[in-house]
């Protein structure tokens, strides 16, 4: 079912060239192009039978043209010559209306990569739907085997996508990169007299060799659903809160939002102008590793076409760099950090301990395993979210809890990080281990 990689690579390279040349020929000073072509297969099963089987075919083309310091952006699902031509004309029309921004413009050509870096991101996996179905069924069976009486499968999914993504600009840089992404996921509903609970688990990787076993994914989803049964409400008060890795990842993402160049120049951040100041405990360092081979966040150039690099955003607790694109850097009078499109493979470094030790450290408090709602205000740092998880008593997990909120201010929460777990989760672009925050208001 999958595409001819070499031929498609040639085709996309030609689309980029046509778009760049077409833009220049209608008088644009600068042109920037992004193309993507994806093909995917996704299967879900339920109760031993196929529920959905989907085949996807995506095309996308985005072009930005600059006439002086005016910019127009257009996109389409059509790649043919006449579509490119009419898109460019539309982009030109847009620029006639829009006002100038002195900071618009391509990054200097010198910042584009000098040569291609092979990050080994393309590893096709399943080509036959029946193979995907077999794996999905194995996931469901494995999970169900944990407790056939209390568990009901909600869905087990296997998905595989092969993509080619391309970038090109009028400075002469252009690259088309093949990537694959595969995942297995599972959702179970657990039911007892006093109610139902659901939870899920998944594994995701560029290389199928790095996926977890089907068995493991199903069992983890089932285990998590069963563990949530018979929840109680925690008592209200101020307690230490341990964020499980997936929840901790959202916490660090809030930090990234606050030190993102656009939050800084819009002055929409509780961490405004804080370079050189202590944000986290002095033992914590936050870096990114965009060039890690086969990684989900792997990329050797960002969405401005700028070469990526190993940034250190936090060094010994001190904010050492913002997260900048070419545009936001110019707005702030700084150099881009190669982060157009976000951070890649962000990692926390510091002394770490196992979950047992972290729970001991808490003594009495809350382990949060899932968060709900949008109660995060990046402008002032106020944080109030719905949560569910486990009550910790005498340094051990006591019972499931839900229908409560945790609240605080992100500044205090970051400063109050007491410890890291040794369980960093590589499924995320922001790869955090468990994070222990010293005190938050728990309401229930």
């Amino acid at each position: 079912m999958f595409f001819d990689l070499q031929k498609l690579k040639t085709d996309l390279t030609a689309v980029i060239a046509k778009s760049v040349d077409g833009g220049l020929s209608i008088g644009a000073d600068e042109v920037e192009v992004m193309v993507a072509r994806d093909q995917g297969l996704e299967v879900s099963v339920r109760h031993g039978r196929i529920e959905n089987l989907e085949l996807s075919n995506d095309f996308s083309l985005s072009i930005s043209v600059l006439f002086g310091k005016r910019k127009g952006s257009v996109s389409s699902t059509n790649f043919d010559d006449s579509s490119i031509k009419s898109l460019l004309a539309k982009a030109k029309d847009l620029t006639l209306l829009l006002e100038e921004d002195p900071h618009y413009g391509l990054a200097p050509g010198g910042l584009n990569p000098k040569k291609l870096v092979e990050l080994d991101l393309y590893h096709p996996w399943i080509t036959e739907p029946t193979d995907a179905v077999a794996i999905a069924l194995a996931i469901e069976r494995a999970g169900l085997s944990l407790n056939e009486k209390l568990l009901r499968p909600d869905s087990a999914e296997v998905s595989t996508t092969n993509s080619l993504v391309g970038y090109g600009n009028s400075n002469g840089f252009s690259a088309v990169i093949p990537r694959s992404r595969h995942s297995m996921s599972s959702v179970f509903v657990a039911e007892e007299k006093n109610g139902m609970q659901r939870d899920y688990w998944y594994s995701m990787a560029r290389d199928p060799e790095e996926l977890r076993q089907a068995d493991e994914v199903g069992k983890e989803a089932a285990r998590r659903s069963l563990a949530k049964l018979n929840p109680e409400r925690p008592i209200s008060g101020v307690f230490p809160v341990l964020f499980a890795p997936d929840c901790a990842s959202s916490l660090i993402s809030h930090f990234i939002s606050a030190v993102n160049g656009s939050s800084q120049f819009k002055k929409a951040s509780f961490l405004l102008d804080r370079i050189g100041q202590k944000i986290f405990p002095e033992w914590l360092t936050i870096t990114e590793n965009p060039l890690e081979p086969r990684s989900l966040g792997g990329a050797f150039f960002d969405s401005d076409g700028v070469q990526t690099r190993n940034n250190k955003f936090v060094t010994d607790g001190v904010l050492t760099s913002y997260v900048l694109s070419n545009y936001s850097a110019k707005r702030l009078g700084l150099e881009t950090t190669g982060n157009a499109g976000g951070v890649r493979n962000l990692t926390l470094a510091g002394p770490s301990s196992g979950q047992k030790d972290l729970l001991k450290k808490i003594g009495r408090g809350v382990l949060v395993s899932s968060l709900m709602g949008q109660g995060v205000n990046i402008v002032n740092g106020d944080y109030s979210r719905g949560a569910s998880g486990f009550w910790v008593e005498n340094g051990k997990i006591s019972h499931a809890i839900d229908n409560f909120t945790i609240a605080g201010n992100l500044s205090d929460m970051f400063f109050g990080i007491q410890a890291l777990g040794d369980d960093a989760d590589k499924r995320f672009n922001v790869r955090t281990p468990s994070i222990l925050v010293d005190s938050m208001a728990v309401a229930s």
């Binding site: 982009a91 109610g195 659901r198 002032n380 719905g386 609240a407 309401a443």
Partner: protein, 493 residues
């Protein structure tokens, strides 16, 4: 049928012809290309087959630093083909529209779904439904210069309203969707769907305090209608007012207490606490806290909850859903008793109940699911002021960011962005945004007073489910919940 009705159905006929000619002819296709695709499902192998074709033009202008300097335009089109047998769905979609890939996809989808009871070749009848909005293209409803001027006017009004306003950003988006669906149950239907939205966000600063306020609105109409029905400067002043209130806000209390919700957008409560849990797919699978509870009391007897896709010009409205079923007014909960789930074709067939016009999909690239349209609580009898005055101690919340729900456990949250602390029936001071949480059925039982001031939101809602976003509306009158958890920082212990 009355005269007006006849007129409207004629309009629908011509609407179908317009969409057929605009989506098919430029791609060298016709109705017979769709019929060929239906034929290639292979008559005996499936229970249901469907071809969905869609084209969406989208445009956005935005203002920052007092200037309109970002603009984008996109043109997306493609098709999705679905074949169902029993509970099994085969689905194949492709960006772009052409006859060969359509037939290829139909064969693929059918081969996936095979072994159904068989579909008969139907005579496709054109669905007649009343249009719930005008068939206008909002992108061309106003000159680009006028669009830019709306944004500039907002900027000036916001800065004039309060000198503490430091940043103003505003955006104006328009989308023009044309959709066409043919299915083996004899449906051939089309719709033309305009959608516009204006959003304003400001940041006001006082000393080292920095707060955001935002406002916006829109619906299924042209831009000139947006500007004439809702003055853009009103949105600007509303955003500034909200930022100003938040500059004075004190920390929110924490714990279980009385909460009064204002009218309109706080109806996100209904969307989360009951709406999602009443979608047919979850109930067919038995994974909703409301599963198997039709006829049971699930809310206070004061509550009647409705999902209505037929309201004229509303953001959540549709003339027909994405499966070609005309939308309708569905009473979900009547006087506290659960009466109905929301259904698409797949789930209504498997649950052996009628469709309700709630089959929606984000685009051709996604499978339809039961989704909400405009979901609201009917008006009650109480005077809103009387409701507020009846509070001993608690929170009066008038604006929310959004919410979410775990439909299985029933736990839901929604986050206030403008709220006040109330004591002895009087508003004391504004409080910082806090998340409210509870279990859907429990909170609905705790509703003790409902106002006579039903309002729908201004047209900004986006609902996400399994990765698919669709525009929706919510609404409610002022209401009182006797006890719900408020997630502030001021604990009593």
């Amino acid at each position: 049928m009355n005269e007006n009705g006849d007129q409207m159905s004629k309009n629908t006929d011509s609407l179908l012809d317009i969409v057929l000619s605009e989506l098919l002819i430029p791609n060298q296709m016709s109705v017979s290309s769709l019929e060929s695709a239906m034929d290639s499902f292979g008559a005996r192998s499936i229970d249901f087959g469907e071809v969905f074709i869609q084209s969406v033009n989208y445009e956005s202008f935005s203002l920052e630093d007092g200037r309109v300097k970002a603009g984008s335009f996109s043109q997306n089109s493609g098709f999705g083909v679905r074949a169902i047998s029993g509970e099994k769905t085969g689905f194949s979609y492709c960006d772009g529209i052409d006859a060969d890939s359509l037939i290829g996809s139909a064969k693929t989808a059918a081969s996936i779904a095979k072994r159904g009871s068989g579909i008969k070749r139907e005579n496709y009848s054109k669905t007649n439904s009343l249009s719930k909005y005008a068939s206008v293209d909002p992108l061309t409803s106003m000159s680009d210069k006028e669009k830019a001027n709306i944004l500039l006017e907002i900027d000036q009004n916001a800065r004039r309203a309060d000198s503490r306003v430091e940043e103003v950003s505003a955006s104006l988006t328009s989308s023009f969707e044309r959709m066409l669906v043919m299915s083996s149950d004899g449906v051939l239907a089309a719709d033309i769907r305009p959608l516009v939205r204006l959003s304003v966000s400001v940041i006001a600063v006082e000393g080292n305090k920095r707060e955001r306020g935002s406002a916006g609105g829109g619906g299924r109409y042209s831009l000139d209608k947006l500007v004439s029905s809702e003055s853009p400067s009103r949105f600007a002043r509303e955003a500034v007012r909200m930022a100003e209130v938040n500059l004075r806000a004190k920390p929110a209390p924490a714990g279980r207490m009385q909460v009064v919700l204002g009218p309109g957008w706080p109806g996100v409560l209904l969307h989360e606490a009951v709406g999602h849990g009443l979608e047919g797919d979850f109930n067919r699978k038995g994974s909703s806290t409301f599963s198997g509870r039709i006829g049971e009391k699930v809310a206070s007897p004061l509550c009647t909850v409705v999902d209505d896709g037929t309201l004229f010009d509303r953001r959540g409205s549709l003339s027909i859903d994405d499966e070609g079923t005309p939308t309708q007014r569905n009473i979900l909960i009547e006087n506290g008793v659960l009466t109905n789930y929301m259904q698409d074709k797949l789930n209504s067939r498997l649950m052996n109940v009628p469709t309700t016009g709630n089959g929606r999909r984000e685009s051709y690239a996604c499978l339809p699911m039961p989704r909400m349209t405009n979901t609201f609580l009917e008006a009650g009898k109480s005077d809103p002021l009387e409701i507020l005055n009846s509070m001993d101690r608690g929170v009066y919340a008038v604006n929310f960011g959004g919410g979410s729900v775990d439909i299985t456990s029933g736990s839901f949250v929604f986050s206030a962005t403008e709220a006040y602390f109330v004591e002895g029936g009087e508003i004391k001071y504004p409080i910082k945004g806090a998340t409210l949480t509870g279990s859907g059925p429990e909170v609905m039982r705790n509703i003790s007073m409902i106002g006579n001031d039903l309002q729908l939101d201004s047209g900004v809602g986006v609902c996400g489910k399994q990765g698919q976003s669709v525009p929706v509306g919510v609404g409610q009158p002022t209401l009182k919940i006797d006890e719900i958890v408020v997630g502030g920082t001021q604990t009593e212990s």
